[in-house]
């Protein structure tokens, strides 16, 4: 069993491909973009922290230098920013001046957190540095340090006054990042969806619809022979396909008409030929009978007046007319195979063999032949009379072309083969040279003279015609001096109608 591949509509296939490709590209692009923008977001965040810390440094520098807490309190402008967690103001030696939000009840100043020490080291090692940025180890915070310079008038040399520290909440960054990712994902999804819809629609209109139309036209043409639509005006691959299909359909239509005409002509010619053969052979017998009758009359009335030579000539005439009659009869029966055809029926080949044995009783007895069917023969669907003729011809040949040193022994066997029956008629006769395997089946073709073996040479031609009329095949296998086996195939079974017998 070879199973047909599953039918997947083109539209679905194209849609799947488009969805896959667009989704993959969209996803890759989004990932790239989000990754890129995440870095931007982080950079913006750091930038903001640095800016805030630098502004704070400016705000509190006067307050630190003048030890004025009112001025230091300007730092509260910074703490109002929602992402600022804590703001610290230190003097030059990291003495904490103030912390915002202001903490009540503070006791001893806590030990310096590591980041402040790190910042101190950082600023100590690079005195030009303005700010320093670190992630706080203690929590999700980003800590920005900036130096405070005191410069009360614009051309004064800036004096170190202290440091400020701004803690920015990581949450703000995370929120910004999340928001950014969400926005871009949504945008990408929307964009991909629109792209997909657009592409699918375009492909549907441009490719699938014309193809479907073509498919429908082809189907209509195949089923009902409806004429294909005129070729389209648009020139593209589908248009070409449509044009070619239309051309092809016209060609097929023309060929069909031609073939139909040829067939009819052939049939008529065949009928005429068969009619001719039948009529000819039938009508040829009439003058032959006249010749034969008058020769006999001549012999009876004038026999004494004819000398021995004349009588010999007359015997030749009689014999020739007899042979001619035989030939005509054979030709007649050959043509009757078609003209006098009868509908097929179930034929039991065992009965046919029995009948043929009865018909050939004298020949069998004369030659002491043995006809053997080791297993029962099947029933085939065929024309009973023709089956009899077929087996009778084959068996006659098998007995007739015998070897002189042993009596003929004929075995008939049957075998199932590819839904047909293959029958074999094997003899132990003289056999046939391989080069004559084809020739023996031709009409009036003989390998031996009439004196050696009697017959007209039409038997096997009739056999072949019978088998071929039953949609079978007839052939021979033989070894000269050992015997021949004639094979033929016949349609099997009673159940199915025999196709072979239709005229």
């Amino acid at each position: 069993m070879n199973h047909a591949p599953r039918f997947i509509p083109l539209a679905i296939r194209i849609s799947t491909i488009v969805v896959g490709v667009v989704a993959a590209i969209g996803l890759a692009a989004t990932v790239f973009l989000v990754n890129h923008l995440a870095k931007d977001t982080e950079a913006q965040f750091v930038q903001r922290g640095q800016t805030l810390s630098l502004i704070l440094a400016k705000l509190v520098s006067e307050g630190i230098a003048e030890e004025n807490l009112d001025l230091v309190n300007r730092a509260s402008y910074i703490i109002r920013e929602k992402d600022v967690v804590q703001v610290c103001v230190y003097n030059e030696f990291w003495g904490r001046i103030e912390v915002y939000p202001q903490q009540t009840g503070s006791v001893h100043e806590p030990e310096l957190p590591p980041t402040i020490l790190a910042a101190a080291n950082f600023f100590a090692s690079s005195p030009e540095a303005r700010f320093f940025y670190t992630r706080d180890d203690h929590g999700p915070q980003h800590v920005f340090f900036a130096r405070v310079f005191y410069q009360p008038f614009h051309d004064a040399p800036p004096m170190d006054a202290g440091f400020v520290v701004v803690h920015l909440s990581d949450r703000q960054l995370a929120t910004a990042r999340r928001e950014m990712v969400r926005t871009h994902l949504a945008t990408a999804a929307l964009f991909s969806l629109v792209t997909i819809l657009l592409l699918v629609w375009l492909l549907h209109v441009q490719v699938v619809k014309p193809l479907k139309g073509l498919h429908r036209e082809m189907e209509d043409f195949t089923r009902q022979g409806a004429p294909p639509a005129p070729p389209p005006t648009v020139r593209d691959e589908v248009g070409e396909l449509k044009r070619q299909f239309s051309e092809m359909a016209r060609t097929i239509r023309r060929r069909e008409r031609e073939s139909h005409r040829f067939q009819q002509e052939l049939q008529r010619s065949n009928q005429e030929l068969e009619q001719f053969a039948y009529v000819a052979s039938h009508d040829l017998q009439e003058p032959l009978r006249v010749i034969s009758g008058f020769v006999q009359l001549l012999e009876k009335r004038q026999g004494d007046k004819i000398d021995a030579k004349g009588r010999e000539h007359m015997a030749h005439i009689v014999e020739a007319t007899g042979r001619m009659k035989e030939l005509i009869n054979d030709l007649l029966s050959y043509s009757r195979l078609s003209t006098k055809a009868r509908p097929p029926e179930a034929v039991d080949l065992n009965q046919v063999v029995t009948r043929v044995e009865a018909n050939l009783a004298q020949l069998i007895a004369e030659n002491v032949a043995v006809i053997d069917c080791p297993e029962p023969l099947p029933t085939v669907r065929a024309e009973a009379g023709q089956m009899t003729m077929l087996l009778q011809n084959l068996l006659t040949n098998a007995v007739r072309y015998r070897r002189n040193d042993q009596p003929p022994r004929i075995t008939i066997t049957a075998r199932r083969e590819n839904g047909t029956w293959r029958l074999a008629v094997a003899d132990n006769g003289i056999g046939i040279e391989q080069q004559y395997f084809d020739r023996i089946f031709k009409i009036f073709q003989r390998l031996h003279t009439r004196d050696e073996y009697p017959g007209t040479g039409i038997g096997l031609a009739i056999c072949r015609k019978i088998v071929e009329r039953h949609r079978g095949r007839l052939w021979v296998e033989s070894t000269p001096g050992r015997g021949s086996t004639f094979y033929f195939t016949l349609p099997k079974g009673e159940s199915e109608p025999a196709e072979g017998s239709q005229p």
Partner: protein, 325 residues
């Protein structure tokens, strides 16, 4: 002075582009994935950042006619501002005056980050840098200070000792309301002496002259450290329960403060000059010069010690050198 417009450009949180612009950006960017995107907020931040950077950048050290003076808060508040103004008027040399504490002044002078240091740490303190020469410029006395609205107006030296040795922690024990004291005092974690009180002139003097050398041990629950004397005074001026020890020179003019009388003797210039105010609280205010001090610094010191300078100091209400017995 309100300073509000500064923050406005930064009120957009990071990544906060409006959705419409972001969509537009995305649509524009989509065909050019491989090109780097422009960081959104950088443009807005750049000018102000640049301004802040320019304003903060350290200028060359050789700027002429500017004297950098930093240090003792008492001196800075008490007389240095006016003295500097007079000096500038007279010489044209501008003075960059910064407080922050004696030790800060001495260390920055030592690090050549300033030209002149004000100090109330006496030269006897062994952690004064060796490169610094301290010259007394004015007289001063330790005063004990509370918030202006505090009902207590008088204190004894014994009570002072008890406060700084941790035995008194409530105003009730000083005859005031039943409220905990809030003792503000200079305390640094990174001075020449490491962490502690010794880095600062006032606690040092207090230990030497009042506590007989014993270390300060304020009860922890009422102790509020501050990095410099100015901030200590500022803090007490904002806390009705505040208490501290400071110098007469600055405490007398700091708004919101009240100087306590010692056993009935008010902390005033007259009482200090006359010797009625306990003399063990007397001390000097110094100016420190580096060995290789700039001429301008030497000029400033000379001006402060000149009769004109001393007269100016005295005229301010502070105590000139000769007024301290």
């Amino acid at each position: 002075m309100p300073i509000k417009p500064l923050l406005n450009p930064f009120s957009t949180p990071p990544g906060g582009l409006p959705l419409g612009r972001r969509l537009l950006l995305l649509l524009l960017l989509l065909p050019f994935f491989l090109l780097p995107a422009q960081p959104g907020g950088a443009g807005a931040a750049a000018p102000l950042y640049a301004a802040a950077h320019a304003a903060n950048s350290p200028a060359s050290e050789t700027r002429p006619l500017v004297l950098r003076l930093s240090g003792c808060s008492v001196s800075r508040t008490g007389y240095l501002e006016q003295l500097s103004a007079a000096f500038t008027q007279r010489t044209g040399i501008r003075v960059l005056l910064k407080g922050g504490g004696s030790m800060t002044g001495l260390l920055t002078l030592d690090a050549e980050a300033s030209d002149l240091a004000a100090s109330c740490l006496p030269p006897s303190a062994d952690h004064v840098p060796a490169s610094v020469r301290l010259v007394p410029v004015a007289g001063d006395a330790l005063v004990f200070v509370t918030h202006r609205d505090n009902p207590v107006g008088d204190i004894g030296l014994e009570q002072v000792r008890e406060i700084f040795l941790g035995q008194i922690d409530n105003w009730r024990q000083l005859g005031g309301p039943d409220r905990p004291l809030a003792v503000y005092l200079q305390y640094s974690r990174h001075g020449a002496r490491g962490s502690g009180f010794d880095n600062h002139g006032i606690p040092f003097t207090l230990q030497q002259q009042v506590l007989d050398g014993r270390p300060i041990a304020v009860a922890p629950q009422v102790f509020f450290p501050r990095p410099s004397g100015g901030l200590v005074e500022e803090s007490v001026a904002r806390d009705p329960d505040g208490f501290t020890v400071s110098g007469f020179t600055s405490a007398r003019i700091r708004p919101g403060l009240k100087m306590l009388a010692i056993d009935g003797i008010a902390a005033s210039k007259e009482n200090i000059s006359s010797g009625a105010y306990p003399t063990q609280l007397h001390r000097h205010l110094y100016l420190g010069l580096a060995d290789d001090a700039a001429p301008a610094a030497r000029r400033f010191l000379a001006f402060a010690l000149s009769p004109e300078g001393q007269q100016l100091i005295s005229g301010l209400g502070a105590i000139a050198l000769h007024e301290l017995p």
